[in-house]
């Protein structure tokens, strides 16, 4: 796993260079158990303080660059999720958070589950975990903006 040895300021400039502004995230709960959502909420606390990296959360997909999706994508939410995605201005990114959003996780095969968001939205980055730690979420977001290298550790 590549570690970036640069201070947060450089990272902030890198995000600004790619997007022309800071990275704004819309969090979408597509039938999650709330575990992932709590880890996402933790990103904003003083311990992880994601705003130091030039990343922030917004209340509308129309203001967002990145859609952070948690949950199995329940059938009831497919339309809403697609409309949320379509409301976003381009360029837009989609990050799937947690085992559920990637594969359905423990709910895979259920009658009300689409087994992950991949069948509904074009996923750019997958962040595994149940739930992923806030550090894993930060890494996923940085992979999404092309700053960090993705992938499993070399064995």
């Amino acid at each position: 796993m590549t570690q970036i040895p640069d201070p947060a300021g450089q990272l902030r400039r890198s995000i600004a260079g790619r997007l022309g502004r800071s990275l704004h995230i819309r969090h979408l709960d597509a039938g999650s158990c709330n575990g992932c959502d709590w880890e996402i909420a933790a990103l904003l606390n003083p311990y992880y303080d994601i705003q130091r990296l030039g990343i922030d959360f917004v209340a509308s997909p129309r203001h967002a660059d990145l859609l952070l999706v948690t949950g199995v994508m329940t059938r009831n939410l497919q339309d809403a999720a697609l409309r949320t995605y379509e409301a976003m201005p381009e360029p837009r990114l989609v990050v799937a958070v947690g085992a559920c959003a990637i594969s359905g996780g423990v709910f895979a095969g259920g009658y009300a589950s689409a087994d992950g968001i991949g069948g509904v939205l074009p996923v750019d980055v997958l962040v595994p975990g149940c739930p992923p730690r806030p550090e894993a979420l930060i890494q996923g977001l940085l992979v999404a903006v092309g700053r960090m290298e993705p992938g499993l550790p070399a064995r």
Binding site: M1, Q3, I4, P5, D6, P7, A8, L11, P46, Y47, Y48, D49, R52, L53, A99, I102, S103, G104, G105, V106, A108, G116, G118, V123, D124, V125, L126, V127, P128, G129, C130, P132, R133, E135, A136, I138, Q139, G140, L142, V143, M148, P150, G151, L152, P153, R155
Partner: protein, 114 residues
């Protein structure tokens, strides 16, 4: 007593920022963190107890390889507990983001013996 109160007041000031330096500095997570399950291929006897123990069918043993789908894994550790030869342990690797679904599948070749 007064000194104690003053000390309590000054402690947060001496401590410095609470914010973790990640990603500027490498992660230093405690060993108790349940991260990526790692297989010691030398100890594995292909008994597939981990496959049966996995609640999300993330593990498979076939064609001389142990495969783990990290996109299905819920990092519960049941595989490690089920293994009669202690071949699996949950490391503390949590930086697992990937751009492609298939990048999340770990394949560990197993040597066939007997």
């Amino acid at each position: 007593m007064i000194a104690d109160l003053v000390d309590r007041f000054l402690r947060p000031l001496r401590r410095g920022p609470l914010t973790r330096p990640y990603p500027a500095e490498a992660l230093d997570l405690p060993a108790t963190v349940r991260g990526l399950p790692e297989l010691d291929a030398g100890r594995c006897d292909s008994s597939a107890d981990c496959v049966r123990a996995c609640p999300t069918q993330a593990i498979a043993v076939r064609e001389g390889a142990w495969t783990l789908d990290v996109g299905r894994c819920i990092f519960c550790g049941d595989c490690a507990r089920a293994c009669p030869r202690d071949a699996i342990r949950l490391g503390n690797t949590v930086e697992l983001a990937a751009r492609n679904r298939m990048d999340l599948v770990v394949v560990v070749p197993l040597e066939t013996r007997r």
